[in-house]
Amino acid sequence: MIKLRFSLFLCLLVSHGAVAEYRATGDLGIVIERAKGSALIINTSQRSILAKIESLGDLSHASVVFSRDERYAFIFGRDGGLTKIDLLQDKVAKRIIQAGNSIGGAISQDGHFIAVSNYTPGGIKIFLTETLELVAEIPAEYGENKLSKVVGLVDAPNQQFVFSLFDAGEIWLVDINNPKKPEIKKFKAIGKQPYDALLSPDGRYYIAGLFGEQGLAVLDLWNPETGVKRILPDYGKEDEKLPVYKMPHLEGWAVAGDYMLIPAVGQHEVLVIDKRSWTLVKRIPVAGQPVFVMARPDGRHIWVNFAFPDNQKLQIIDAKDLTIIKSLAPGKAVLHMEFTPRGEEVWVSVRDDNQLVVYDTESFKEIIRLPAENPSGIFFSSRAHKMGL
């Protein structure tokens, strides 16, 4: 009897074990395998690859946002594909092709809507997070029936989306409190060829970088009626503009105290801007054309990667004195970096070496290398609760 009871207990234990593979999602992430059209689900606490999701189309330049419950990842593919991945079940929950050529997306403040920015047809589309059903379509019309490519799409407080029109040189602010009838405010002549944009972490400032001319365009969302302000219009005017082999990205906001750090365009420099006066404080010479300039979550260090032909390097700037304190060489074609939620480690994608490298951000020592096929973007689920990401 005792024996039977014991084996019954064992049975229960085993069967309980089988159903008890609960998975929390707060320390998960998605890594894009751009050439393969697949995505890896990874765990940042175990530093492991949990699953590979395939057949996601053209994922060059793909980016990801997360549902606020951190269960779902939404992948925006270059070919207009929008895929909802279930992180609990390692599978595609829903997938649609919503445009011909797209560049990124955002999730609304309340988490109910996904917006996608498209190159072809130029504009944005808004979908229900739950079903990916189309709710609204906003063509980026300018001039005489022309459609502009849309870049720098972010979510902003009060159920708004903000984006820039590359061909038109405009910033549009869209209020979706009435999702069927979005209200659009257009800011025109903001500068030539805005190529990307970011939102400050407090959701107040929308900043677009310009490729067609010097400087940046800033929209203060606390005072949108004051219009878009141009900053650093004279920056680097007297210097020869160097060729740009890959457009920089303005993702996130590298802030150190009152300073903001952004990639220069056509100069091998990181620019330090005083965000109280929007003036240039310092130009930090770096190893190449910066692509991503990303602050560790505590803001102490800023990590920088570079465009071809300097894309095998990483440099780290100390926010304390705004100097480079470390240079690393992770491998061939370093494309992206993502910090763990509190920043003790950073994951780096090395495209041509087919590897992910995890670094300790204090000692700069390599912790582990994991295999991935031509990895590009890395996105952790902690983005779910950050505005503008």
Binding site: A35, S60, N101, K246, A333
Partner: protein, 103 residues
């Protein structure tokens, strides 16, 4: 008769401008560059991004010289940078013909 001569000449000049293929290893580097580095702006499948599409059908009306010049020296007033420091003229011609699927 005239037409035959014209055709022959056409074939001859076509044959003459075909680029010498670079060594195998270099070809792979160039193809990787085309996919990923050109692809950063023109799309991994060359269907276009911030830069225009580069499929054979999109480039049909452009001459080889124009395309080689664009890649070598970039296009002023656009985001297209010069690739001269990294790719020789012969390699560029080979790359153009690869894009146009002539070999």
């Amino acid at each position: 008769m005239h037409r035959t001569i014209f055709l022959c000449l056409g074939l001859l000049s076509q044959a003459q401008v075909l680029a010498d293929p670079p060594p195998q290893e270099r070809q792979e580097t160039l193809r990787n560059m085309l996919r990923h580095d050109c692809g950063a702006c023109h799309g991994l499948t060359l269907k276009g991004g911030l830069g225009p599409a580069l499929l054979a059908s999109d480039l049909a009306a452009k001459s080889d010289d124009y395309l080689v010049d664009t890649i070598q020296n970039g296009r002023k007033g656009t985001a297209m940078p010069p690739w001269k420091p990294f790719i020789s003229e012969q390699e560029t011609l080979w790359l153009v013909q690869t894009i146009l699927k002539r070999h």
